[in-house]
Amino acid sequence: MATPLRNPIVDTEPSEFVGTPIAAPARPVTAAHSTTPAGPVTLGAGTPAPRPSRSGMDLHLRQLSKRYTGVAALDGVDLHVEAGELVALLGPSGSGKTTLLRVIAGLLHPDAGQVLFGRDDATRLSLRERNVGFVFQHYALFKHMTVAENIAFGLRSRPRSRRPDKATIRRRVEELLGLIQLPGFGDRYPEQLSGGQKQRVALARALAIDPTVLLLDEPFGALDAKVRVELRRWLRQLHERTGQTTLFVTHDQEEALELADRIVVLREGRIEQVGTPDEIYSDPASAYVFDFIGRANVLEGEVRGGRFHLPGHARTFSADAVPEGAARLYARAHDVAPGEGDEGIAARVVAAHRLADRITLELHVQGQARPVELDFAATPGLTTPAPGSELRLVPLRYRVYSSAG
C-alpha cells in the first residue's frame, strides 16, 4: 500500500481466509434477491424497478462498437450472459476488455450497438440510472466516510420516496459487513484498512444497492499475490451465495480460469473465444488463445496434405482442417514427454532446472529458432539430464494453427 497507515491495522487476511467458508450472516443477503421478499431486507420495495430474481438478471450485448480517435476499442461485440453467471473478460491491455465493462456500466457510451438488462434496453441510460454495482481496481472508497457510511451511501442517496428509513439502512449495513467478514469494522476509515479489506468494503458498497449486474474492473489488480488468491476464492464463494450476475475484467488467465463460469477472451476489440475454463484451456480456438491462456511451446513448420511437417525431421503430425502452408504446432510443456528409441523429435538439452517435484528442460530442436520447454514429474530414480545431452520429444497433446491467422 502506497500510503503509510496512520493507524495501522494488522493485516490478518491470510489466516482469516484459509479454508474458511463464508460465515452465514444473521439474515442472508441472498434474501434480497429472492422472489419472495423477506421483511426488511427488501429495500426500496414498491419501486417501479423490477426486482431481480434470485439469480440476478441476464445481459445481452448486441454489436457493440466503440472507437477512440479512429482506433476500434470495441468492434462488433455480441455476448449473452446468463442470469447468475460469473463471467471473466480476459485479454491483454488494449484488447478492449475494460472498454467493454465501462460500456456495460454506462461509464462510456458505445458508438453503435445495444446493452440490454433482461429485456430492457439500457443503452441510453446513464451510469446513475443503470443501477449497476461497479467495483474499481483502486477501490475508490470515499476517504472521509467510515466503512458503514461508505456502504450506506447508495441507499442514502436515493430520492426520499425510495429511501429506506435509518434503522433499515443500519441493518442492511450490518448484514453486508457480516457478508464481507468485517463485522465491527463499520466505524473505521478506509485508510485504516488493508487492500483486501478495502476491496471487500467496495464490494459491499456495490451490493448494497441490489445491483442489476455486478461489474468488477481488475478487482484484484492492486493486491499482493497472496491476498489476491485468497480474495478470489472468497469472491467465488460469495458469488455462489448471492447468485449475482457478475462480470469481471482481468489480464490474469489464472484468475479467469479459477474464478469464472465462462471466460470471454478478447483481442483487439473482438471476441476471440467464449467458453468454460475447461474449454478455453483444453480447446483453444486460436493460437492467440493458446498462447494467452498458458505457457506454450511453439514449433514452426508447414502443413502439406493434412499433415504438419517439421523442417529437417521425418516425423509428421496430424493437422486436420488446417489450411496448407506455413503453420505452427502448439503444445504445453506438460503435454510433451521424453520418448524412447527413435520415436518423436530429436532435441538437445540447453539447460536443465531441477525443482522440488519437477524437472524443467530447455531444449533446442534443429531448425527451430525458439527453444522448447519440457516439464515432467521428477519421479524417484530419475536423474536430471546434463546440458548437451540428446533426447527425443513426443508431443502428447498439441494443436496446429495456420501461421496466416
Partner: protein
C-alpha cells in the same frame, strides 16, 4: 544502513554548511524580517495613540472597508468559479483545453498595470462598452465595480491552480462510484467532491485573499484615487506616503502587514495539519 551512508556521501565540510546556512539566514533577515520590523517601528514611532489615530481617521477607515468589501466579493466568486473551472478541466476532455490551461496563467504572466489598462480599454469613456454603460447609467471605472473586477482578474488563478493538480491526482473514480450508486450530481458534489478538495480550496482561498488585499497595480489604474470612496488600503498608503505623512502611511502598512501575517499563520497551519490533502505537485506560491 544505506540511508545513513548516503547522507555521509552528501555531507559537505562543516565550515561550508555553517557558511551556507548563515548566509541564508542573513539574507532572510536583511531582506524580509528587517524591513517588516522597520515598518512596525515607523508605525509606532510616535506612540500607540498616534497609530490608532491615523487608522481611525475617516479616509483610512473607508480604505479598510473598501479593501474588505472587495475581498468579500472576490473570495466567494473565485472559490465558486475556480471550482467550476478546475472541475471542467480535470473531468472533461475537450478541444482547446491546453489553451484554456495556459489562459488560466495569464493573470500571473501579465503585469497588473496592463490588466488595469485592459479594463480601461473596455469600460473607459472611449472604451468598447462606453455607450452601453452610459445608456444604463452604470459606472465601472473609478468606482467599486472596477476595483472588484481588477482584483478578480489578478486573483483568479490562485484557487484554480491549487485545485487542478489536486483533482487530477485524486482522479474521478470516487465520483464515478458515487454516480453508479445512484447519487445525483449535486449529492455527488456535496458528499464526495467537496470533502475531498475542501482543504485545497481553503488554501487557494487564503492565497487569493492575501493577494486581493495587497493588490496595487491593477487597482491603481482603475480606482481613480478618490479619497474616502475608491481608495483601497494599498492606495491609501501610497497617497499618505506621497504626502510625507509617514506615520500614517506606516500605520496603514502595519495593518496590511498584520493581515498578511495572519494569512501566513493560517497557511502554515493548513500545510502542517492537512498537507496530505493539498495538491502535491509544484506549488507556485
Amino acid at each position: 544502513m544505506s540511508d545513513v551512508r548516503h547522507r555521509d556521501d552528501l555531507q559537505e565540510p562543516a565550515w561550508l554548511r555553517v557558511a551556507l546556512i548563515a548566509l541564508a539566514v542573513l539574507v532572510m533577515l536583511s531582506l524580509v524580517v528587517l524591513p517588516l520590523l522597520m515598518v512596525l517601528g515607523a508605525a509606532f514611532a510616535k506612540g500607540f495613540g498616534t497609530w490608532l489615530e491615523s487608522l481611525t481617521q475617516p479616509d483610512a477607515v473607508s480604505a479598510l472597508k473598501l479593501t474588505l468589501f472587495t475581498v468579500a466579493i472576490v473570495l466567494p466568486v473565485n472559490a465558486i468559479f475556480g471550482t467550476f473551472m478546475a472541475w471542467a478541466v480535470t473531468r472533461f476532455e475537450f478541444r482547446g483545453k491546453q489553451l484554456l490551461l495556459s489562459l488560466i496563467d495569464l493573470p500571473f504572466a501579465v503585469s497588473p498595470v496592463v490588466a488595469g489598462l485592459c479594463l480601461v480599454l473596455l469600460f473607459g469613456s472611449h472604451g468598447w462598452f462606453a455607450e452601453l454603460l452610459r445608456e444604463h447609467d452604470i459606472k465601472i471605472l473609478f468606482a467599486r465595480p472596477g476595483i472588484v473586477l481588477a482584483t478578480l482578474f489578478i486573483t483568479f488563478p490562485f484557487v484554480v491552480r491549487e485545485l487542478i493538480p489536486l483533482m487530477q491526482q485524486q482522479g474521478a473514480d470516487e465520483e464515478l462510484a458515487a454516480r453508479s450508486l445512484g447519487a445525483s450530481g449535486w449529492t455527488m458534489f456535496r458528499r464526495v467532491t467537496l470533502p475531498n478538495i475542501k482543504w485545497g480550496l481553503l488554501y487557494g482561498v487564503l492565497l487569493c485573499s492575501a493577494r486581493a488585499m495587497g493588490e496595487f497595480g491593477a487597482v491603481s489604474v482603475v480606482s481613480g484615487h478618490i479619497r474616502g470612496l475608491t481608495n483601497t488600503l494599498p492606495l491609501h498608503i501610497e497617497i499618505l506616503y506621497n504626502e510625507f505623512d509617514s506615520t500614517g502611511a506606516f500605520a496603514a502598512a502595519s495593518l496590511l502587514a498584520g493581515l498578511a501575517l495572519i494569512t501566513l499563520i493560517l497557511k502554515f497551519w493548513l500545510e502542517s495539519r492537512h498537507g496530505d490533502a493539498l495538491a502535491k505537485s509544484h506549488r507556485r506560491h
